[in-house]
Symmetry: D2
Subunit: 338 residues, 4 copies
């Protein structure tokens, strides 16, 4: 049995992690902590775990983490994560970090989008970007995995075949993404109140969202040239799920190659990618509560429209984190996730 | 034209008041204020008013209220209201107070349910409870109207005929009420987040809600004896609306008198009460955005089931406040409300 | 491995059954059928099962059911069920019937509430009412289990201790229940459209719902006298979940016995009942997606208020059906359900 | 007073028309009809109108329409409309048609997208496309106005300045639109059930929606060359509202001209267009229940992102129909709409 700790257990990704790990046959949750100073039983925060888990959640306690855990999931807000992660790594723990702190390789970009200076450049270099469909081999040997953002997961899985196979004009990529509210976390903000969000829909951080450079970074690596996408996120009156509608013009290499087949081939061995049939597009309901990313493709004469759906708390966060853990510890990749 | 001010204009009842008053032919909104120290244009807070109203909202300014208003709507949280109201009354303004501060005649009960000592016993005595269907005549001459709470409005309109005509056993009254989230105001609380409320329903303040003594007070007055109801409010994943399902055993006087006819007669001249046909019950959609209270009645051998629906922000707050203003200023009672 | 068939697999309870059974280590789904004449792959109906189940769903085929199944879950609409069940029982299959056809022992009551004459009185006599918390021993040896309705499950679990221990005045029971829309099934009716239900709440079948006699039947058996409840169901803008708020006056036997402790004792060994602490009440979110029934209790001087929450598709239908299967086949009762 | 009839009064656009016209000081509703053979009082269909309107709704009765109406709003499904409209025009009635039947000038395109042959080519030629911001002068003298589709209204108001002023590369236009469910009408379809739509979001008719040629037709007219947009509509779990997020590359003419100012100038005299400030984008809540179209603009080095929000039942249907009526009858254009 692998002993794991969850730091940041009181938020939505923490909750989803607990739920998944309770069903994982090779894992024992041994430590829960959160940022608040208050200590309480996890079931007082999440009554649905009553009868399934009996652990207290208190402030982060490094000693406890060292003593009780082999691996730690860090579900802290960005900046808080890079305070803790170096200490865990020093103590020889494997870390799967769900914050943004170890995703952007360029610390200037990090500063621009997160308004703080990066403090842990050393580990940033070692961190592996935890998108298994692209970086499985590196994840296998990693001590620190930077679990991808929810939007980048959906967008990159929709775009990787187009860019990787050279089908798309990389200067023309537009990502119109729609997300449920749990992506914003459990923050008591007026704009996230039920009375504000119910019956509403809006764009926000229009072409300025902090997940944009993360997408650009990976696509640039794939394309081996600078790629800059247009990215507009929208807030849906939905708790869980991301739908990314991606538009790209065809490149000259794209002619005469049916995209659905190419996507199928590209993702042939992937247990969590389901490419839909011609004319069939995913909806959030198809993936909510699962670690799947469903992808539908419409190919026009000059362009592609690719629609990817994930559950932002599972494939977009906690499920993907467990998938990464499975890879790191050589468990079957789908263990606890189907 | 009557010049009115709205104190507490940035909340949901303030918003609803502005919306209604902009369509009122005899009223001009001349002053808007709120509790926060920040000053901004009302359209920065509520973009939907752009092109319809151009006023700034700043902290409460007594001088401005005195200079510019004939009447003031006070949509402040309780306790804040009783600080301001005496000053407005001294300045000879008529006040319609939407807080709980002037509703409970017994200051000990007020202290018990609101956890503060009442500071304005003098005006409390003069305040008229603003439920037009019961107290229209007193409202006509009032300087200070205590606008009823949203739950009491629905519950009392469902119960007034039963208790007033002696049909119900007053010891058996149960009110199972369901409310939309705007009743809780625009407060950034975790429990009111979209991610928490969406897809959920729960009871809260079970038989301990602060609106319970307000209901008891009015029913006791009607029954001319002490009445204590059982009252369980529930939070719905809905923005606007209250559905009150009321249960009461029949009294000995009830036999052989068909309740629907008695309700129809009781509310015969009421412009905002609609008693439904046999077997027909209101839903929230029938009253949302209106000042109506729709009532459906099911009469069993031994008991009554009465279901009342209102929009908590209109008949349960701002609409009823305007109805009270119409009565106080001798405008037609439905002016601006149909 | 137990081979099971699901008849009525294309509806919401069928979907929930498949989802649960795919995670059950002792079960193999070998047959899926539905009422429509159309045959298709289950993943064309429920894309979320792609990669997890590959079976076709066609019209009910008795031969196939006989050849491939040990046990059959019947998730047909009432009246359709009693056509098929006798044939399955003749073929020595065990049947868990999720319809209402085998719940009401009195065929006159059945006719009154379902508007059809019962056609299978013989098996009706043998059917065991599948509420494990009350009838576990009978379920063990049953060939035909009548799986309880969703409202009765919630209401009876809230009321069984009160009535069973003689705490409540059985003439005073009021059940104010709130249900999500999946309880109405996947029927294309105008009143169930998103545009109608969203933002709305209403009572329906006020004190006339077909689940009322089912509740009365069980409570009468427990009380050993005729019990008739008042029952008002409401439709919530929620997909899954039932919240039953139950009111009862105390009987003379009730004095001085703290209800929470009595409930705890009553349900001591029950793996799916969670009695909440004093002052703590369940919300739908606590039980959605689970087979738990969470119960909160408020005890007043003269009455009890008991609030029970279940997921109508799990404990209120498919989860309870699997719980019954576990009991019938001597699997651990929680297998596949935690 | 203008006497108007509404044909198709039982649907969502009919309901919105009644609501608006009841508040219009120059209009009297004299006839209501619908497609069903059933006759009932309008308040049995829409209880919210009780006390405000007392008219029966029966099958379409040409005689009654001729006798009682000056103008007729036709809110029938497409194809049903072109059966009735010629008869109304022959009887010298002015008609505002809310169906798609008189919008597409090319009957081959109509056949392709609506799967029926057009039957009224004569009146099709005379019909004026009722988008006041573009065709006000023609509407003034029209006998038959083809009220625009909901998606085209939002998309065209976002695009008209870009295309009209030559700012956009017309080969690059992408419209990612999100709509509430009332746009699909009051049809009892499984895919529109609350249980299906709640918590979900999906694309549909991907680049194949029947509103696409309507957008192409108007943009081609404005650009004076063939324009073909990419158009992907999405279904939101919302009753009312459309958010259109529009992307276009800049043309060579675009350089150095700040788009917000150009939009402001373009819509200077428009009472229902509100161009937002830099960095400010509309949400559905800003326009729900109103006839406004709010527009936010983000200008990048190479492209524009324009976001338009409307209420699909008001500016996208019934409100715009009343705006057209106001223009046709020389009432102030905003009468009954503010």
């Amino acid at each position: 049995m692998l002993n794991v700790g969850i730091v940041g257990a009181a938020g939505y990704t923490g909750e989803a992690l607990i739920d998944i790990l309770l069903g994982h046959p090779e894992v024992r949750i041994t430590s829960l902590s959160r940022r608040s100073a208050q200590t309480s039983n996890i079931c007082d925060i999440f009554p649905q775990f009553a009868g399934r888990l009996d652990l207290s959640v208190g402030p982060v306690d490094l000693k406890q983490l060292k003593a009780k855990c082999d691996a730690v999931f860090c579900a802290l807000p960005h900046t808080a994560s890079m305070e803790l992660v170096p200490k865990l790594l020093s103590a020889k723990k494997k870390v799967i970090d769900l914050s943004a702190d170890y995703r952007l390789k360029d610390t200037r970009v990090y500063r621009k989008f997160y308004n703080v200076t990066h403090k842990d450049a050393a580990n940033l270099k070692l961190a592996v970007y935890g998108l298994p469909e692209l970086y499985r081999n590196k994840i296998k040997g990693a001590s620190l995995v930077a679990n991808p953002g929810c939007y980048p997961t959906a967008a990159l899985l929709a775009l990787a075949p187009l860019v990787g196979l050279g089908l798309a004009d990389t200067s023309s990529i537009i990502i119109d993404a729609k997300s449920g509210t749990s992506g914003a976390g459990k923050k008591a903000e007026e704009s996230l109140l039920f009375s504000e969000v119910h019956g509403d829909c809006k764009a926000y951080k229009v072409n300025a969202h902090q997940h944009m450079p993360e997408i650009d970074q990976v696509l640039s690596r794939i394309a081996q040239k600078k790629v800059r996408v247009v990215f507009v996120p929208h807030l849906l009156p939905v708790k869980r799920g991301i739908l990314a509608t991606v538009y790209a013009r065809k490149s000259s290499k794209a002619k005469n190659r049916p995209a659905i087949q190419l996507f199928r081939k590209f993702y042939k061995k992937e247990p969590f990618i389901r490419v839909r049939k011609e004319g069939d597009f995913p909806r959030l309901a198809d993936v909510q509560g699962t670690n799947f990313c469903d992808i539908g493709i419409k190919e026009e004469k000059d362009c592609y429209i690719v629609i990817a759906a994930i559950d932002n708390l599972v494939k977009g966060a906690s499920g993907q984190a467990v998938q990464n853990m499975n890879i790191m510890y050589k468990f079957p990749e789908t263990l606890g996730l189907l």
